[in-house]
Amino acid sequence: MTTPTGATTDGDTSRPGSTSDLADNATTDAPADAGFRGLSPGQLMWRRFLRDRTGVVSACVVLFFVAVAILAPLISMLYGKNPETHYGQEDVSLLTDSGLPTGPNGGMSGDFWFGLEPGLGRDVLTLLIYGIRTSLIIAVATSLLTTVIGVALGIAAGYLGGKTDYLIGRVIDVLMSFPSQIFLIATMPVVTGLLVAQDENPPGWLPFVAVTLVLSLLGWMGLARILRGISLSLREREFIEAAKVTGASPMRIIFKEILPNLWTPILVQSTLALPAFVTAEAGLSYLGVGVSEPTPDWGRMIADGANFLRTDVTFLLFPGLAMVVFVLAFNLLGDSVRDAFDPKTGR
């Protein structure tokens, strides 16, 4: 709920009632489900998802982005350019004395389809392609990490209750009271400092890990709150009582009885969180505290492009539009996944 770039999973966890509709499907007289009796919930979800045209299209777009990210070296080889070479500096005819492309529209040409980056004169297309890797790796890693933290603490709070619940609840309260943007910025150098001593050479993974850790730090509370609510209600349910009576250990109850009931909200929430992490990562880079050169990064490209607005909007257009399409596809996918799991909400 911060500005869209800010804190990670947006705060819709604070909305009352959003948890309840995940559980009470069974009791409603939903005629739509009648056709599927006998199918597993996973199959049901899959069949519902396949019927959602928007969902399938957005999934294809997302898959396209993922494929491009994975195949980046191959694409770059076929296209004949890479994101490391400073084309504009090797061929002085490409850039002006102050580093702007000499050609119109940001230097777009048959050689450089999306133009050249001002300054170093790298190829914009390959920067974009490799930039997807950065975004995806960090967003996926952050989603995984926040999910693990959120699941662990959410279940601990909800199932164990008492002091654990109180403690975790207060930690969440405090973290949610932090002005998230300034804290993301302020923790970046600290995390970087903790990971690598001042006199060591920064390894290549450092920015990835640092950004992931920082985003995860303030990104797990939403999921934890939701899962806490659900585990709290599950705890009172008969089958848990039954398991307790039969002498199952708390670990066994958590893993065998509670966790399987949480897969739906976990999967839905993580799919919705992923695009938020993509934008948060780009936001950090936009502010100049994210992933640094030479790793290609969209947020940094957008920030660079914004510097040349009056001169040429091309530098902003490509990364900006790519970002919007990417996030839009992810948001649509997230919505579709949620609908597939939980048709009642209806879009």
């Binding site: 002005p179 943007q181 009056r310």
Partner: protein, 325 residues
Amino acid sequence: MLRFLVRRTLGALVILLIVSMVTYALFFAIPADPARLYCGKTCTPENLALIRHDMGFDHAWPVQYWNWLSTIFTGGTFNGVHCGAPCFGYSFDKKELVGGILLDRFPTTLSLTVGSAVVFLIFGIGTGMLAAHKQGKPADKIASGFSLLASSMQIYVAGPLALWALCYSTDLLALPTYVPITEDPLGWAGGLLVPWIVLSLIWTANYTRMTRSSMVEQLSEDYVRTARAKGMSGTSVFMRYAWRGAMGTIVTVFGIDLGVLLGGAIITETTFSLHGLGELAIHSFRDSDLSLLVGVTVVAATLIVFFNIIVDAAYALIDPRIRLA
């Protein structure tokens, strides 16, 4: 109600204590020597020591934190400037009292937030209700499609694009600046128009989506069906029942958003070069201006916590099931 307020205020104070303490701890975890920054070109070790002493950096951070905390109540004198209680410290970088700087910056953030909040609240809720009412019809599809697209835009994409489209390439609107409303109301509105448009666009989309989904959810509630079974008209069911139910969600989210926005939106203010609390926050961080950084952080956290309390109180008014205690 009184008990609720007292209890929550105490809780809020604890949170603010923790937030300010964490800020202090974070600041000192960053391997930078703020004294060096104020030492200038001829930084002799003696000068450095003097500066450290003046700024209070010659103590361990918990001691400094304690000093900061007690100064709030006792006041103090910094660099010859007296600072009466409640005193939030002195910025050595700007050579001014932190309280004064914050007061000076707050109107910018306030104008930015309130101006766009009015728009996005009205349009967001309006469009969302329309979409919920016309669920599945073309009007709903257009509104939902637009809001999905706009909510996938980021300030740092939409902002520069708007600057380009509205200011640089066409000169339609003025570049963003802040003029106090008391000095020049028209200039105030004109200077903030572009940021308002961008913020409103994105936030309207968010509120449209939220309003629509909570209205749809409410419309499927049993009591809405009951109301219809009683013969209530469609409008009355929509407004008196469904909207009443959706209001709680919207007020909650709006309150939380307002708290966060008023605390300063760094990316927005950076994008539009506005000097509000958000920009102050990032600059105080970059300038290692500890007292200012803590000041901004505490103000931002206070706003968040304050609006959380307001939201909870408002929620109790909206939903009689909630009891404040």
